[in-house]
Symmetry: C2
Subunit: 345 residues, 2 copies
DNA sequence: CTGTTAGCGCTTTCAT
DNA sequence: ATGAAAGCGCTAACAG
C-alpha cells in the first residue's frame, strides 16, 4: 500500500498494463482519450486507479508549456489576508476559479526590489496568466510581460492588459449627491496617497458633481492621507482646530471615515447631527460602527470573479485577443445609506 | 526587446556566453555558485540579466523533484477568504513564508468527492509538503500521504504528521473560571457540530473546571449548532421560552456569542447585567460588539506561522523526522476580558 | 574550475 | 489504434 504511492511513473503503468507509454499518456487526458480503444482505456484506467497514478505536473508542464495555473500578484506586505479589500478580492477570485480546473498561486512581488517588466513570468513562475493588483508600483509605464494579464483597479491607457475596475468616478458622484441633497456645501475631502488613482477618480466624480450644482470644491479642502484611520483622525483634528466650518466629510475609503468619526466623538461633535460622513468601500465594520456608516459600496468580490472569468475565457479561447487586451470591464458601485449623513443645520 | 522574453533557455545563455550549460546552471543557483570562477560568473550573470534569463521552474522541478512550494489544503468552500479564522491562518502562514524562498499554493480539496489517502500529492500537485486544515473530512483514519504534513487544529493520535493546535482545553478552563468567579452556576454551553474536535476539547476543559468547583454542567445544558450566529439566536430564544434560569452563556465560537447577544437584546435582557456571555476566538468584531465581548483568544495567526516554520525546518533538515512526525505543538490561549461578563445578581 | 552526458516523466509527431 | 523515438530545460554525476 505504502509502496504504491512512491514512484508511479507512466512507465510503470504502461509496463503493468502491457501497453506503451504513449497509450497511457493518451488515456490520461480527456482531449486524447478518444484515440484509445475502449477496452484498452478501461484496462489502463483500472490500473491507474488502483495504483493512484497521477501524471507528474512538472513533466507535463515542461512538455506542454502550459500550467493550468494563474498567478495572483500582490504587494509584498504583511497581513494582507487581514485586509477587508484583499480578502474580498481573493474570495471572488478563488470562488470563481474553483469552478474551473485552474489553480492559483499567490506571488508576492517586492515593489521596491525592481521593476518587473521583462521578467519571464511564464517559465519562472510556472503560470499561464496573471492578475495584478497594485499595478503602478510594480511595473514601469512600458509594461510588458510574457503572459496575459488582468490589472485590477488601476485603469491605464495603452497598456497591453485587460482592466477590471470599479466605477470610481460614479462613486464620487453618488457621495456628492447624497451630501448636497442634505444641504452640505462645506465638505472636507480625505484622499489616499498622491499616486492613488482610486482617489483621483473618486474625487474627480465628486468635484464634477458638486460643481454642477454650483458648489466648487476648493483644493485646500482636499486632504491627503495614507488611507489610514490615524491620518484621518489627525486631519479632522486639525480642521476643527483651525475652525474651518466643515459640515461634512467625504472619505476615499472607510478606514479614514472611521478615523473621522472617532475624532468627531472626541471633539464632542455628533455624527450625523453636527457633521456628516460618507465613506467608500463598505467594509465589514461599516455596518457595525457608531453610527453605521453611509458609504459607497464597490463590488470587490465581483472584481476578483470577473478577473478570473476574463482570463480563463482568454486562455480557453472563448474570447479573442481583440476582446481582451486594452479593454476595460467597469463594475458599478452603489450608495449604501446608513446613519452617518444628516441634513445640515 | 519583446523577443528577448521569448525562449530563453539555458542553451542560449551558454552559447552566447561561450560556456557549457553546466556552468550556466551552476552560476544560476546560490548553492553551486561558488564552483564557478568569479570572472565566468560575472560574465554569465551579465548576459543572464540582459536577456532576463530565469531558469524554467518546471524543468528544475522535474529534475530535482523539489518544488519549493508548500500546499495549503483547504475545504472546498465558498467565501473562505472572508472568514476571520482562515484569514488569520493564511496571514500568519504567508507572512512567515515570505521570509523564505518557498511559495505556497492553495489546494481546495473536495471533502465529499473522495478521501485523499494515497493520492500522490507530491507529483500531482507539485508540492514538497502540505498543511491541512479541516482534516477529519479529508482523510480516512489510516491517513497516509507522500509529503510531510502539518495538521492544524485537529489533534489526533497515531497519525504520521505534525500537529499544530491551540490549547482548546485550557481555553475552556479560562472561560469557566471567569464565569464561576462571578458566581454563575447555571450556564448554557453552545457548541459546534458533533464532529468538531475543537468544541469537544473546549467543553472538556470547561466541564472539568466547573466540576472542580462543585458545579457540574448537565448534558441538557449543552446545545449544538453549526457555529453560526443564527443557530445561537434560535437556541437562546428556546432556552428563555422554556424558562430555563440561565445566567450565562459559554459559546464555542464568537459567532455564536454574537447571536446570543443579539437575541438577548431582542428579549429585553441586558448583557452583562442580566446575562453574561463568553465567546471563543476573539474575532475582529468582538471588540466592536455591544457590549464588547469577553472571549478566549486563540493565536490563530501564530498557528499558521508555526505550521510554516515547522515544515520548512523539516524540509531544510533543521529538524529530524523524529522531532516532526507524531509530535504536537500546542499554542497557548488567553482570556480577553471585555464587557460581556458581570456578576450574577 | 569546466565540460560531457544521462536522464527527470511526459507529450507528440511519425510510422506501422 | 498503437508504438518508437525525439525532445521540453534543467541538474548532477563524472571525468578531465
Amino acid at each position: 500500500m505504502a509502496r504504491q504511492i512512491e514512484k508511479n511513473t507512466i512507465w510503470e503503468i504502461a509496463r503493468t498494463a502491457g501497453v506503451s507509454i504513449a497509450t497511457v499518456s493518451r488515456a490520461m487526458r480527456a482531449e486524447t482519450r478518444g484515440k484509445v480503444a475502449p477496452e484498452t482505456l478501461k484496462h489502463i484506467e483500472a490500473i491507474g486507479k488502483k495504483r493512484h497514478y497521477t501524471p507528474s505536473l512538472s513533466a507535463r508542464n515542461l512538455r506542454a508549456t502550459r500550467f493550468k495555473t494563474i498567478g495572483f500578484m500582490i504587494p509584498h506586505i504583511h497581513n494582507i489576508f487581514l485586509s477587508d479589500y484583499y480578502s474580498k478580492l481573493f474570495c471572488g477570485f478563488s470562488n470563481s476559479l474553483m469552478g474551473s480546473d485552474y489553480r492559483f498561486k499567490l506571488v508576492a512581488l517586492k515593489p521596491y526590489a525592481r521593476k518587473w517588466d521583462g521578467y519571464p513570468f511564464r517559465s519562472a513562475e510556472a503560470i499561464d496568466a496573471m492578475v495584478v493588483e497594485y499595478w503602478p508600483t510594480f511595473f514601469t509605464p512600458k509594461f510588458k510581460v510574457d503572459v496575459p494579464c488582468v490589472i485590477i483597479n488601476d485603469p491605464a491607457d495603452g497598456i497591453r492588459a485587460h482592466f477590471v475596475t470599479s466605477d470610481n468616478e460614479a462613486g464620487g458622484e453618488l457621495a456628492a449627491r447624497c451630501l448636497y441633497e442634505q444641504g452640505h456645501e462645506c465638505i472636507a475631502v480625505l484622499r489616499g496617497q498622491e499616486w492613488s488613482t482610486d482617489s483621483d477618480l473618486r474625487i474627480k466624480g465628486f468635484k464634477r458633481t458638486m460643481a454642477r450644482v454650483g458648489t466648487a470644491v476648493p483644493n485646500e479642502m482636499i486632504f491627503k492621507g495614507e488611507y489610514e484611520e490615524e491620518d484621518a483622525a489627525r486631519i479632522t483634528e486639525r480642521i476643527f482646530l483651525e475652525k474651518k466650518k466643515v459640515t461634512a466629510f467625504f472619505c476615499c475609503n472607510d478606514n479614514m471615515a472611521f478615523g473621522v468619526m472617532r475624532k468627531l466623538k472626541q471633539l464632542g461633535l455628533r455624527c450625523p447631527e453636527d457633521v456628516s460622513v460618507v465613506g467608500f468601500d463598505d467594509e465589514g465594520r461599516a455596518s457595525h460602527s457608531d453610527p453605521p456608516l453611509t458609504t459607497v459600496r464597490a463590488m470587490t468580490q465581483e472584481l476578483g470573479k470577473v478577473a478570473s472569468e476574463k482570463i480563463i475565457a482568454l486562455l480557453e479561447g472563448k474570447i479573442s485577443d481583440k476582446e481582451f487586451f486594452y479593454k476595460k470591464t467597469v463594475l458599478p458601485v452603489s450608495l449604501i445609506e446608513r446613519k452617518s449623513v444628516g441634513p445640515v443645520r
